[in-house]
Subunit: 323 residues, 2 copies
C-alpha cells in the first residue's frame, strides 16, 4: 500500500481505507449506478491500491467453479489472508448479488469479517462487466484485502474480458464433458495460467489431463506457455478439498514467475494498458447510450429502415457523426 | 424481396443477388476485415433484403444444439426452403469457419447448394459478433435464402446480443444439468420464444419441463410470455429427429403470433432499433481502437498509472476527450 497520499483522507475515503464494509458497498453500488462523485472517490482511493493479488477462476459450466472458489477462500483464510470475492455472472439480469448472494457458499463465509463477497450480474452494459470488475477489485484492494478472487459463471467473451483484471487466471474443467464443451475450452485455454481438472476422482481424469496437455502443445507457436495442471476434488461444505493446497501453490508459482521476475514490469504495463482500453470503450459506450437516449426519435429512424427508405449502416454512421 | 431498386444491379451485387456463393463469401470476409467498399456493397444489397426468416438457436453447452440445427436444416430442406446458417462461437479465436467448418454436420450438407454455412468466431471485436451476424444474415437474405439459422456455441452476453438478429429464438436444454447451469439458464430463458428439452428420452425430462414452466411463471411480471416447450430427440446423421417437426411448428406458431399479427409493426421497429444501437456501439468501438492504435505511446501512459502518478479513470477520460 502506498501511504504517501498528499493529504490525510477523510469521509468515505477514510472509512473505506479503514475497511468499513457499508461504505465500500455503497461506493460499489454508486459506481454501478454511475452516480456523480463515485468516480472521484475511486480516483482518491487509487494511490492506496496495488497490494492485493487478483486470482481469476473461470471454466466450463458444471465444472464446480464455485466449489473450488469456496475451498480457496477457506485455504487463504486459514493462511491468515483477508479475502475479497467478485462473482461475475454476465447472463444474469440481476445485479448486486440477488441470486449469487443466496448461494450456500456465501452463507458459510457470511459471518467472517475477513471475507467480503460482491456479485456483479448486470447485463447489457457493453464492456461494463470488465470495467466493474476492475472497479470493485480496486475498492477491495484499498480496503486492505490481500487476495481478491474473481469468479465467473458463464463462458464467453465477457469472461475473457473480465479475466484481464486477474494476475493469475485459473481455468477449471472436469472429466467427461462433450464435444460442445471442448470447443468452448479452446477459448478459455488461451487465457489459462493454471489448469484445474476438478472432480478428479471421476472416470476419465487421466484422459482429460492428457487432452489438456495436447491442447497446450498445439497452441504453442514457438515457446510453450508454462501452464501447470492441477487435479482437485473440491467438496462443498468441507474446509479444504483434495488438491486445493496444490492449486494455491500453482498460483503462487505463477505469481513468482510472472509478477516478481524480470517480466513483471512489462506485465504491469500491459495490464494497465488493457484496463485503459476497457475503460475507454466502456466510457464511450456510456456516452453513446446517453446520447441516443437523449436524442429520442430513434423509433422514427428505425421505421425508415424497416420501410427500406434508408439502410441501417448509413443511419448508424449519421448517428455517430451527430454525437 | 423488394424489386424496386432504382437501377439494375451490376458486378458483385448482381452476382450475390443471383446467389453466387464465392462472391458472397468474399463479401463476408471483406466485411469482417473492414475493407473499404464492403459496406457500400452491403448498403446496395439492403433494398433486396427483408424476406428471410431468422431463427436463433442457443442454449446450454452439451445440450446438443448443433444436432438440433442439423435436424432443422434437413427439415427445412425437405420443405423446399433454401437454408443459410450462421455459426457463432464467441470463445473461439478462429474466424471464417476454421473449426466449425470441420464438423460432421457441415460435411453432410456441404454438397447441397441449397445450404450455405458461415462460421463467425472472431474474438475481441467489441460488439462485433452481433454486428457481423446481422451483416451475414443480410447477405444470405439478399442471396435468396428463405431461412437463416443462427447457432451460437457459448452462453453469455454475446449470445444474448447475437440473438437480437433472430425473429424467433429457440433455447435448447437437456435433462440432468447441474445448478451451475440452472443459473445460466435464467439469462437465456429471458430471450426464449421457444424452449426445447432435447435428449428427451433421458431420465428427468419431465422434471426439466416442469422446472422450465416454473421459471417461466416466476419470470412473468404481469402477463406470462407465450413460450412453447417442445421435446426433441435429435440424432446426428438422421434426416429428422423425433420432435423436430413439432419444433418447426412451434417456430411457425411464434412467427404467426409475433411477426404477422397486430404487434408485427412495432416488433420490426424495435428490431431495427436494436440493430442500430448495436451498429453505433460497434462503429464507435472500431473508431476508439483505431484512434488508440494511431495514438501510440499508450505504454508510456500505462507506465504512469503503474507508478501511481495518475489514475486509470482520469487517463481514460483524457483519452476520450482527445479522440
Amino acid at each position: 500500500m502506498t501511504d504517501t497520499a498528499p493529504t490525510a483522507p477523510t469521509g468515505p475515503i477514510a472509512a473505506i481505507l479503514a475497511g468499513d464494509v457499508r461504505t465500500a458497498a455503497r461506493l460499489m453500488r454508486d459506481l454501478d449506478d454511475r452516480r456523480p462523485g463515485a468516480l472521484d472517490t475511486l480516483k482518491a482511493l487509487f494511490p492506496h491500491t496495488g497490494k492485493a493479488y487478483l486470482v481469476g477462476i473461470t471454466g466450463n459450466p458444471g465444472a464446480g467453479k464455485s466449489t473450488v472458489v469456496d475451498a480457496l477462500i477457506a485455504h487463504y483464510r486459514a493462511a491468515g489472508e483477508k479475502v475479497g470475492v467478485v462473482c461475475v455472472d454476465p447472463t444474469s439480469p440481476f445485479s448486486g448479488g440477488a441470486i449469487l448472494g443466496d448461494r450456500i457458499r456465501m452463507q458459510r463465509h457470511a459471518l467472517d469479517p475477513g471475507v467480503f463477497i460482491r456479485s456483479l450480474a448486470t447485463r447489457g452494459h457493453l464492456g461494463g462487466l470488465s470495467r466493474s470488475t476492475f472497479d470493485v477489485a480496486h475498492v477491495l484492494d484499498a480496503m486492505g484485502f490481500d487476495r481478491v478472487l474473481i469468479e465467473t459463471v458463464g463462458v464467453g467473451q465477457d469472461e475473457v474480458d473480465v479475466m484481464k483484471a486477474a494476475h493469475t487466471t485459473v481455468v477449471v474443467t472436469v472429466p467427461g464433458l462433450g464435444d460442445d464443451i471442448q470447443a468452448i475450452k479452446s477459448g478459455l485455454l488461451e487465457i489459462a495460467d493454471v489448469l484445474v481438472v476438478n472432480k478428479a476422482d471421476r472416470e476419465g481424469a487421466d484422459r482429460t489431463e492428457r487432452d489438456l496437455m495436447h491442447m497446450l502443445d498445439l497452441r504453442a507457436h514457438g515457446e510453450r506457455k508454462d501452464v501447470e495442471i492441477v487435479r482437485t476434488i473440491a467438496t462443498k461444505g468441507t474446509a479444504d478439498g483434495s488438491g486445493i493446497r496444490e492449486l494455491a501453490q500453482a498460483v503462487e508459482a505463477h505469481r513468482m514467475r510472472s509478477w516478481q521476475g524480470p517480466t513483471a514490469a512489462a506485465r504491469s504495463v500491459a495490464r494497465a494498458q488493457a484496463h485503459l482500453a476497457e475503460l475507454v470503450r466502456a466510457l464511450l459506450a456510456d456516452r453513446a447510450a446517453k446520447a441516443m437516449a437523449a436524442r429520442g426519435g430513434l423509433a422514427e429512424i428505425a421505421q425508415a429502415v424497416v420501410d427500406h427508405q434508408t439502410d441501417p449502416w448509413t443511419v448508424a454512421e449519421q448517428l455517430i457523426e451527430a454525437l
